[in-house]
């Protein structure tokens, strides 16, 4: 069970935005976008406003995606770049923004969901490499000519398939507890 205070969340937000900026090509628009995003997120955290924080997070994500010139994911260095410079900060920002409530609940990390999410993210990030490897074994000529569009398609397809599979099943109905007895009136009168 983890419980982060507001100040810790602000520090984490600033840290995540700095990491995003470190990995991006900083232009005026990126800088402006990141500053506004950080301000909105901090404002949301201070005023316990989840919508404000979420808007800030979306702005930060958009700015980072636009400014980081991520190349092919077939190279290990690029994958690490994408994971550390983009995936982890955005994931962190999303979590902070979504938990920006006055009475935010402590985060209870359950092993099952955490493992499945890690697996999902890993598969998505390595999907291009895995496909390229498979194609390299099966059809080497196709593998060498993998375009950016194809890589995007592979990542998006994997992400969509993964999300569909993992959220397909509905949870079982909860345990209903004690069986209710007859009311006082019926027992006393009959």
């Amino acid at each position: 069970m983890m419980d982060f205070g507001r100040d810790q969340k602000i520090v984490l937000t600033i840290g995540a935005i700095i990491v995003l900026m470190l990995f991006s090509q900083i232009g005026t628009s990126t800088l402006l976008g990141m500053i506004v995003a950080a301000a909105l997120m901090i404002l949301g955290l201070v005023s316990y406003s989840r919508p404000t924080s979420v808007i800030g997070m979306l702005l930060a994500s958009g700015s980072a995606a636009a400014s980081i010139g991520q190349q092919s994911l077939t190279v290990v260095g690029n994958v690490l770049n994408a994971a550390i410079g983009l995936f982890v900060p955005i994931y962190l920002l999303a979590w902070i923004a979504l938990s920006a409530e006055e009475e935010s609940r402590p985060i209870s990390l359950r092993r099952g969901p955490a493992l499945m999410t890690t697996l999902y993210a890993t598969v998505c990030l390595l999907s291009v490499g895995l496909v390229a490897f498979t194609l390299g074994v099966v059809a080497p000529a196709v593998s060498s000519g993998m375009s950016a569009l194809m890589e995007i398609a592979i990542v998006l397809l994997t992400a969509t398939m993964g999300i569909t599979i993992l959220t397909f099943r509905n949870p079982r109905p909860a345990t209903t507890g004690l069986v209710e007895e007859e009311s006082g009136s019926t027992t006393t009168e009959d």
Binding site: I90, S99, L156
Partner: protein, 475 residues
């Protein structure tokens, strides 16, 4: 599990990012999609895991001993969270459709701490008499990141049975001391009150006969002593039958015949008990006597009668059939099925077939059994019915009473008088009502032909008015 508006916003943003990724041919946008989708997946799996692990004990109790329609009823709900984590959400104790919260609230946001008993109380007002189910406990839960919403229901509904309105009980108590209803007849059993000694016949003198009973006028003619004999007359044992058949329960938009009949049965039986009539009540439907309490006297008897009347099924709100399509005077089972589905017609036709084969069903069979067990003791039977589904059975019962020397009073809840009394009628409707009335008058004639008493009542007729009419000989 539903996705919250915030979750939908996140999904829409992901889709937009995916399009941007393709549009700008940059994989960075796709990475953002993966990051947000991962958050989405984690939130869902975590929430599903929380929902699965939730264990909540719910205990609901109704604090009042007697529950009346239109009167507040206090409901207490106790909850124990048996998990090790808090349960967050909006808690709502589900109430029946025909009831309303009178005071307090049955819905509020709460945090249920682990291993702690939490409770809340509110008052509820039931709209009508009959059985109701209160609960279970619904918790509208949101995941910790606000992306998903789920309604969970815990505990089982609590069945409660609401009596008729409290005013009806008060009326029953009030008129019991004021109104009197007396039906006297010969009795062979010890009675609480002997009304009078009725001349029975003359027999030969037996030593020990009282001098005042000797028929002196016969002595010169017969030259022997003769004795006049008398039978004691007491209040008749009375059985009140309440019709709970489908036609009686159906409500055609106006007042409920069944509810009115329950009030009348309760009030008349209390008047009879207060007049020292050993009184019992039975409720019956198309196939059987559902509940019965034998004739008796005393304060406890009224409580017994109330207990039996609590089992009267609730009224049925049937779909309205246009008046021009409605059948004229009911023939056999039509009245019972007016405004109801084809299934009802089939059901009642099946009942009619079974009755035709001589099976022991309905009120006539119940009366027959009571007469058989009475060992010749005269009895009074009062039937409150709309003469719909059980009309033939009641006519059969009247003939049976005539043959066995018992008395029968039919209180007819006239269907047309219970249908929207304030509504303006057109010519077709008036014609149909006239046909119905003339049809029922034939039934009345056939009942009176068998010596039964008959009284037609509407929703405005109170028990005291009915008692007075019976006493005046209008029945």
């Amino acid at each position: 599990m539903r996705v919250s508006p915030l979750g939908n916003l996140l999904l829409v943003f992901c889709i937009a990012m995916a399009f941007a990724s393709v549009l700008f041919m940059s994989i960075s946008w796709a990475i953002v999609v993966v990051a947000l989708a991962s958050m989405f997946v984690y939130a869902r799996l975590q929430f599903a895991s929380e929902l699965r692990a939730t264990k909540l004990d719910v205990e609901r109790s109704v604090l009042e001993k007697m529950i009346f329609a239109k009167e507040p009823v206090t409901v207490k709900v106790e909850m124990v969270n048996r998990t090790t984590t808090n349960i967050y959400g909006t808690i709502e104790d589900l109430i029946p459709d025909d009831s309303e919260v009178a005071s307090g609230t049955n819905k509020f946001a709460a945090t249920l701490r682990p291993r702690t008993v939490e409770s809340f109380t509110y008052t509820l007002r039931f709209g009508k008499r009959g059985p109701h189910n209160v609960g279970g406990l619904k918790i509208e839960r949101t995941d910790s990141l606000g992306l998903f919403v789920e309604d969970q229901v815990f505990g089982h509904p609590t069945p409660v049975n609401a009596h008729t309105k409290k005013g009806s009980f008060n009326t029953a108590r009030r008129i019991a001391g004021k109104e009197h209803l007396e039906y006297s007849g010969p009795s062979r059993t010890p009675a609480a009150v002997i009304r009078e000694q009725e001349f029975s016949g003359i027999r030969d003198y037996v030593p020990g006969d009282r001098a005042r009973d000797i028929f002196w006028k016969a002595l010169p003619k017969t030259n022997k002593l003769m004795t006049k004999t008398f039978v004691k007359e007491t209040s008749l044992r009375t059985m009140l039958f309440l019709d709970c058949t489908r036609s009686m329960r159906s409500v055609g938009g106006g007042a409920s015949k069944m509810d009115h009949a329950v009030d009348l049965a309760m009030q008349i039986s209390n008047v009879l008990i207060s007049s020292y009539h050993p009184t019992g009540v039975a409720i019956y439907d198309e196939t059987s006597v559902m509940e019965i309490t034998p004739p008796g006297l005393g304060k406890r008897k009224f409580e017994d009668i109330v207990r039996v009347l609590r089992h009267v099924p609730p009224s049925l709100q049937l779909k309205e059939v246009p008046q021009e399509e409605a059948a004229p005077f009911p023939n056999h089972v039509q009245d019972a099925t007016r405004g109801s589905s084809g299934e009802s017609v089939e059901f009642l036709s099946a009942i009619a077939d079974i009755r035709g084969k001589g099976k022991d069903l309905g009120v006539d069979s119940a009366i027959k059994r009571l007469i058989t067990h009475s060992k010749g003791q005269e009895q009074l039977f009062i039937i409150v019915s709309d003469l719909g589904s059980s009309r033939n059975a009641i006519i059969g019962a009247a003939k049976l009473c005539q043959q066995s020397g018992n008395r029968l009073l039919v209180i007819h809840t006239h269907d047309d008088w219970y249908r929207r009394p304030a509504e303006m009628l057109d010519a077709t409707q008036v014609e149909r009502m006239y046909e119905n009335l003339s049809g029922y008058m034939k039934v009345e004639a056939s009942l009176k032909g068998t010596g039964a008493s008959y009284l037609r009542v509407g929703p405005a007729d109170s028990a005291s008015r009915i008692v007075r009419n019976i006493r005046r000989g209008l029945a």
